[in-house]
Structure formats: structure tokens, C-alpha cells
């Protein structure tokens, strides 16, 4: 399966609603092990909300290694590559378990150190 992002979305990939459209197209093929190619030719502006929804959400159900094997990203410029890589790193953390009580304790500990 190959999708032209410019045809589907346009030259700006910056909002979550557009990311969701791409996610809806590619989730099932990827989940069933099909190769998917996203062609960003003609897309020039990028922001994290788009990639959070298009790709970050995939990591909830698809292991990162499988996603990297099945999903080909073509013609994505350097800015877009930076954003998508950061989103994948952060989504992997997001989908892990979090102990928010410990996070609050850690923040307070750092805060106390700074005050001393």
C-alpha cells in the first residue's frame, strides 16, 4: 500500500485531525503485517500533532521494531524526519506504564535540591 500524503492532506502536515486520517488508512494494513509506504513528496511543513496521530498512536498496538520494518517513509525532508523520530521516541515512552506518584515525588526531590 502506498499513500501520497500531499494528495490526502496537502502541503502542511501539522494538525491531529489530518494525522488521524492517515492513521485510519494505515492501521489495519500494518496490523495485518502489510507493508505501507507514505510518500511525503510535496509536503513542506510539519508539526508533532500530525505525527502523534498518524504514527505515534500506532505504537499502542504495534511494536516499534515491526513498525519500522513495515512502514516506509519516503521523500520526507530533514525537518519532517526530526519530528517523526521525536514522536516515535516519545510515543514509545508514553505507551509504557507510568507511576505518576513517583514522578511527583521525583519532581519535589529535585525542587528541594534546588532550594538548598
Amino acid at each position: 500500500m502506498k499513500l501520497s500524503i500531499k494528495d490526502q492532506i496537502g502541503p502542511r502536515c501539522i494538525i491531529k485531525e489530518d494525522g488521524q486520517k492517515i492513521y485510519d488508512e494505515i492501521y489495519k494494513p500494518l496490523k495485518s503485517g502489510e507493508n505501507v509506504s507514505l510518500d511525503f513528496n510535496g509536503v513542506s511543513q510539519f508539526a508533532s500533532p500530525f505525527f502523534n496521530f498518524a504514527i505515534g498512536q500506532l505504537l499502542k498496538d504495534i511494536p516499534e521494531a515491526d513498525l519500522r520494518r513495515l512502514l516506509q517513509i519516503e521523500n520526507l525532508n530533514e525537518t519532517g524526519r526530526l519530528v517523526v523520530e521525536r514522536v516515535i521516541e516519545n510515543a514509545a515512552k508514553y505507551h509504557g506504564d507510568k507511576d505518576f506518584r513517583k514522578i511527583v515525588d521525583d519532581i519535589l526531590e529535585q525542587q528541594a535540591k534546588e532550594l538548598n
Binding site: I14, A47, S48, Q57, T79, L82, H95
Partner: protein, 295 residues
């Protein structure tokens, strides 16, 4: 009802100037209040003040108060010309319509107007002939700056929207471009404390300072979203600003964050206000900019 007169002094964009703006907010923060802004002591008004005062006026109106900008009190002609040209004075009752010159327009977005905001950033902020940047760099900058607007609309809960103003400073050796984006929503520390209250004891959460909350918000992968991944926007923006020798400042509730070429610092402020101001300064020299593949 008696009209409260609030004097607007000279306002630059240093920390003390933001304290002045937050003190003005505090004075105008009652419901059903009628306010008149008096400019007789104002001989300097930076775009951060323009965006802030515009938003504050809409906040007062949303609380069923009335606002009068007393333009007859403004004696400084340079300030008057600037705020007429950028459309701010015309938005608030002055008869002179905005005109295209070397100013960057004042802008109000009650709702998320993606095309309008991106066109503004491209055409009116960056796209003027004063900034010699390639299309590649322009696209990178507007994408990163969009993260600010996205955060404001996604997280602030502001009922009156987002307010923007910018300015170009054509200095010979340090040409810069600034942009201020203001909302009067709940503020980042308040949002983070509210999020942690769902998971940890109130007694602990209430100890979190504004500085600590902002530091947490700036770290990659940290997000208050519960059903969708996030936590990349501020992280990407701060990296871009730092690599390219710009400056990013955020005032939100009682917290202050600054990112510049010296790193990132977080501080607590005495004056808290309900909302967020993002103030960015970019250098206008393509030679200073680097992409990762050029680093």
C-alpha cells in the same frame, strides 16, 4: 458603575515589563468591571504588550465588563503610528485603519484557524522581504512556531482564544524578529497540577512550583494527555531555538522558562497570572541557522 482607569506605562519586553503587564491584568481581573486604559504615560509599547492588552480587553469583555482604550491620552506619535499601522488601535476603536508597512499585524484567533495562522506566520511575520530565509528554513520555522498555537488551543482552555503580535527590529548587526503569543487560559502549571491531582496526593501536588511544572512540561515525552501520545512540541521548539541562537521565554502562572544559547532555566515568579505568554526572538540571518544534517 464607576470606570476604573488603568494607566499604561512604557512597556518593553524584559521581565520587569512582564511583571507590569501581569499587575495590569490583576487590576482588571474583577468581573463586571468597566475599564479605561490611559496611555498618557506611555511612550514605548512592544508587541508583547500589544498582544497582552488586546487579549486582556477581550477577557474583560467576556466577563461582561467594558473596555475603553483612551487614544486621546496617547501623546507619543511613534507609538500611535505603530499601533495604527499594525491594526491594534483600529481593532479597539481608533478610526485609522491598518496599512501595510513595516509592522507585523496584531491578530486575534478566537478559534483555531489553521490556514489563517500559518499564512500570517509565513506572509506577515517571516515572509516579508526583511527576512532573508530560504523556503526550507521558513517552512521549518513556521512548523515549530505552530506548536505554540497548537498548545494554546489544545491545553489552555481559553474561552477567548489566542492573541498575537510581532515586530521586526532592523538593527545593523543584530537584526531580530519577535513574536508574542498570549492566552488567558488556565496556564501550564495549573494544567499540570490538575493532571497530577488525579494520580497523587493533593498535599504533594500543591507543593509543585511553577518552575518545576514548566521544567516537566519542557521534557521530551511528558504530556498531560490521557488518551493520545504527545510531549514533543515544546521539546522540538526549544531545540530549534537553542541550536539557532534564538530565545524562547514562557511566562505561565507563577512560572518562567527561558531557553537561549546558554541553555534552559526555570524560575518562580512572585506575580502569578492566569494564562500563558510565549515570547520568541529569532535572529534574521540565514547563515546562523543550521539543520541537523548540517550540524
Amino acid at each position: 458603575m464607576v470606570q476604573k482607569v488603568i494607566p499604561i506605562p512604557r512597556i518593553n519586553d524584559g521581565r520587569a515589563d512582564f511583571a507590569t503587564l501581569f499587575a495590569i491584568w490583576s487590576q482588571a481581573n474583577d468581573y463586571f468591571e468597566d475599564v479605561r486604559f490611559d496611555f498618557s504615560g506611555c511612550w514605548f509599547l512592544r508587541p508583547n504588550a500589544v498582544a497582552f492588552l488586546g487579549g486582556l480587553a477581550r477577557l474583560i469583555e467576556s466577563r461582561l465588563g467594558t473596555v475603553e482604550f483612551d487614544w486621546t491620552s496617547l501623546q507619543d506619535q511613534r507609538v500611535m503610528t505603530n499601533i495604527c499601522q499594525n491594526g491594534f488601535a483600529g481593532t479597539f476603536g481608533h478610526p485609522t485603519p491598518a496599512w501595510t508597512g513595516n509592522s507585523i499585524p496584531y491578530r486575534e484567533d478566537r478559534t483555531r484557524d489553521v490556514g489563517g495562522i500559518m499564512d500570517y506566520l509565513e506572509q506577515y511575520w517571516l515572509g516579508r522581504s526583511w527576512v532573508q530565509v530560504s523556503k526550507r528554513l521558513r517552512d521549518a520555522i513556521v512548523g515549530h512556531v505552530w506548536e505554540i498555537y497548537n498548545n494554546a488551543f489544545e491545553h489552555s482552555g481559553s474561552q477567548i482564544g489566542v492573541f498575537t503580535c510581532g515586530q521586526h527590529f532592523p538593527r545593523k548587526y543584530n537584526e531580530i524578529l519577535v513574536l508574542s503569543v498570549v492566552d488567558f487560559g488556565q496556564g501550564i502549571p495549573a494544567k499540570i497540577r490538575g493532571f497530577f491531582r488525579q494520580h497523587a496526593d493533593e498535599a504533594l501536588v500543591s507543593q509543585l512550583t511553577g518552575a518545576s511544572c514548566l521544567r516537566w512540561a519542557f521534557q521530551a515525552g511528558n504530556t498531560t494527555k490521557v488518551d493520545e501520545p504527545g510531549g514533543s512540541g515544546l521539546d522540538l521548539l526549544k531545540e530549534f531555538i537553542r541550536v539557532n541562537q534564538g530565545k524562547l521565554e514562557i511566562y505561565s502562572n507563577d512560572g518562567y522558562a527561558i531557553v537561549d544559547q546558554d541553555g534552559e532555566r526555570y524560575e518562580n515568579r512572585d506575580i502569578s497570572f492566569e494564562g500563558t505568554v510565549v515570547h520568541i526572538t529569532l535572529r534574521c540571518d540565514e547563515k546562523l541557522y543550521r539543520f541537523r544534517d548540517e550540524a
